[in-house]
Each structure stands twice: as C-alpha cells, then as structure tokens.
Subunit: 269 residues, 2 copies
C-alpha cells in the first residue's frame, strides 16, 4: 500500500512535540526505520537536532542521516541502500532546487519511490515539503495578489501530481503565488502550509496537524482567469477559486473536495 | 491500450503531406474520428486549414473543431461529449497557458485523458505540443546557454511525466532553456522539436517524423549543476548531459535511453 506524504511548513518547534510525534507514530513508532536527508541544506549539521528529538521519542534504531549532497552520492548504491527498508524518510529544509537537481533521475529518487509505494511515510519541511510534488514552486515572491512570474516552477520529486505544496505560507505572505500556481492549472490543489504545521496526504485524504493553519486553494471551480494573457509581473485575475483555511484536526478530501472541521474539543499538545 | 502523443514543433507545412498523413494514419485513417481543439489560439479560424488538409486525405467523418475558449465551455457536457469517441485529437498552436488555465481540472481534460487511455492519438503543434506534458514550459527566452529563469514552467495537461517538450526549437534557439529545464530535474527527458517536425511518443518509444530535427537532452547522466545556487538570470552550469539530434526515421527508447539512427535510405515525402 502506498505510504503517506507529510508536508511541513518549516520552522518546526522541536520543544513542542506535536509534529515530531506525528512523524514518529506514522512512520512506525519505536520500530520505525528512519532516514533523514539533509540534501536541501547547506548547513553541515542539518537534521541533527531532529534526529535527537526522534531518539527521545524512543527508537529501536536511531535515524540515519544520509550525507547526500551531489548527484554522485545519489547514485551510490552503498549509500542509497538503507532507503529501501525505511519506514519513514524526512527531507530537511534548504533549497528545493538542490533536491530536484541532485536527486532527479537518480537511484536514490527511484528507491524513495519504491519505499513510498511499499508504504513508507515521506516527510519534508520547508524546501523538503515543496519538493514532494510533481510540479513544485522552486522560488518566487511574496504578496497577497497573484502576479505573472510570482512563482518559478520546476519539476519536483513527483510523489503526488494532484497537489502543489507551498510552505512558510502565512509567515511569508504567499497566497498570491499559490493562487497564481492554481490559476495556471486549476486542476491542481494548492496547499499552503504554515510554519510548525503539517499537511498529511494519504490516498485522497489530507489531514492537518500542528500549531498554525493550512490554506487550501481549490482551482476546479475557477470560472475565468487572464493568466495566459498577462505580461511582465502584472497582477493576474482569477474568479471563483474556493478557499479553505484549516487547523489542527481538520481534514480535506481530495476526491469530494470537501473540508471537515471537527467540533472544538481537540487540543494541540 | 494507452494511445500515443504527437508533439509537433509548429509551422506545419500543409502543402507537404508528411505530418498531416502521419497524424491521419496513426489516428485511424479513413475511419478516424478527429477533434481539433483551437483553444490555445486567439485566431477565430484556427484549425480550419488543418481540417481541410485532413479531409483531403479521405475521411468518413470530417474533423470536428470544438470551440472551447473558456472554462465554462470546457465544463459543458454537450460540447465535450464527442471527445470520448475520438480516435485522434489535435491541439493547435497559440498560448499554452490558455490550454492549462482553461482546461485544467475540467470535464474536457478528464475526457481527453479517458480517450488517451482508450488508445486515442493526442497531437499538438507549438503551444499544443508544449502543453502535453505534466510540467510544461509556459514561456521563456531563447539562447544557447541555460540561464536561471530562462524558462517559466507551469503544470501542463499531464499526458506524460517523463518528458518536457519544447517547440520551434532550432528556429528560436531554445537549447539553453531546455538544458535549464533538465538541469532542474535531470530525470526529465528534454525533447526539443523543430518546426514542421514531430516527436511521437508511444509507450517508451519516441519516433521522429518530418522535415527538420528533434533534439533530445538526457539529464540522467548529469554529473553536477549549480542550478540551485545561481541567482538572477545568470548562466547555469551543467556537466555530463547527453545530447541526441535525431531526424526523420530515427527513434529513441526512453527505457534504455538509446537512440536508433536508421541507414540512409528513408526519405521525407
């Protein structure tokens, strides 16, 4: 059975256990075999604090940080080998174009897909969240208005072709570029994930977890847009998009395009 | 059985029958049920000359030009209905962002996918070729050097997630932007199609047909690239990409990544 995707909006608060515990439990709890990929980051210690936080939850085997920072490493069978048996993989933040340009078309990428097909949880924070989809936002500009060229897209790692994830969403004012992305192809579901918050996609169910919110832009009901005709960096008109802002415990069904907001008894730990 | 994709680089010479006949025969010959979608174009008579050229080849039913130029039209069941029975669909040129922004997530898009899954030939020229893939080049700049931002991507119509098509390729000097696209995710096969030339993808076989050439950029052997770190519109370094320039009668296997160049006895009609 295909696994799940966990897109985290960056800035995980490791002192509040919500997201770390969610990743830990969904990846198999104490029996989990976890891989951390610091590929997107230019910091040599990327993933180390997350590793410590996960060990604190209780693990039979400590998470493995795979030092993949080149295409050669991503093609090295010895280095890539542990991915096949992983129950959970975590992409740290950094620059999502490193993930696509270093991992795209490599052995590591195909082993990640094999693990995902076999049921592994594939998580990413910040750049790691952006790169999960088939079309990713590589970089762009903030602002509430969709503008031509406000997002630069690139092929991502392709775990889903239904969704485009954005991250640091409310903190960096990214509704404009997500609307732009959805206007360009209204069949895509735009999912903007706030910091210290996760959108978890399993089958056609998207669940929200964490401190802040997930903003969902459903493009299918869009009636009209002039995105094909606007030049430069001018504003793009979009009519009829459906917007959902969902918090911890809420869910969204990709098939019915309906959100579920639970009664107010759930609390973020 | 899934159908085939026919990506034409624009500027079809309707007086030389090669591409028209190739489309006609692959779509079923005299029994073909053909749909022309002028959606990408702003010209009211887009598709009319192609329709006449196809009728001349001999058809039991003349091709239907579907006037879909809005999201409302793409959601209209009566208008969309003939697509389900089509054996060949042809997207004219124009602006590929019209195709994605007007058809993305609509009934028409899903009927096109159903027809393709049932064996239909899906062809597109110029903008129509660009829009066939999951990640498409929406617009960009010419030049032989890959540069940051030299192509702007968008989600396309998604008939293939293995290939990125570019068009008017040699005529508009687009090798740089195709290399840029492939550097961003070297798992993608970059396929640059010249004018009056077609790349025909069926299963993992790509065949070349027509007057000029198809340039294939295979990113998998890329050893290194700095695409993640280059800013502005600066040149992007890429090492190790494999390049093929193939002409009429040649083929390329996507699984083995090998080109086949036949003995020089074939002639373009």
């Amino acid at each position: 059975m295909t696994g799940a995707l966990m897109a985290i909006g960056g800035a995980i608060d490791l002192k509040r256990p919500t997201l770390v515990q969610e990743f830990y439990h969904r990846a198999g709890g104490s029996q989990a075999r976890l891989i951390i990929l610091p590929t997107a980051s230019s910091l040599p210690d990327s993933g180390v604090e997350l590793r410590e936080a996960l060990i604190k939850e209780g693990l039979h085997q400590p998470p493995l940080i795979l030092p993949v920072r080149s295409r050669a490493a991503a093609q090295d069978p010895a280095l890539v080998d542990p991915i096949r048996a992983a129950s959970g993989v975590f992409f740290t933040g950094g620059n999502q174009a490193r993930l696509s340009s270093w991992l795209g078309g490599t052995l590591l990428e195909s082993e990640l897909h094999a693990a995902y097909q076999a049921g592994a949880l594939i998580a990413g924070s910040s750049a790691g969240a952006a790169a999960l989809s088939a079309v990713m936002i590589a970089f762009g500009r903030g602002g509430a208005t969709p503008r031509q060229r406000s997002a630069q897209f690139a092929p991502g790692l392709g775990f889903t072709d239904q969704v485009i994830f954005d991250q640091h969403f409310r903190q960096r004012d990214r509704l404009g570029r997500l609307l732009y992305a959805v206007a360009l192809h209204p069949g895509m579901l735009g999912v903007g994930v706030d910091e210290n918050t996760a959108a978890i996609l399993q089958g056609h169910s998207l669940e929200i977890c964490g401190q802040n919110a997930v903003t969902i832009v459903d493009g299918r009901p869009i009636q009209d847009t002039d995105v094909a005709d606007v030049s430069g960096a001018s504003p793009v008109a979009v009519s009829g998009a459906r917007l959902h802002v969902l918090t911890h415990g809420c869910a969204f069904d990709l098939a019915s395009r309906q959100a579920q907001i639970p009664p107010k008894t759930l609390k973020v730990s």
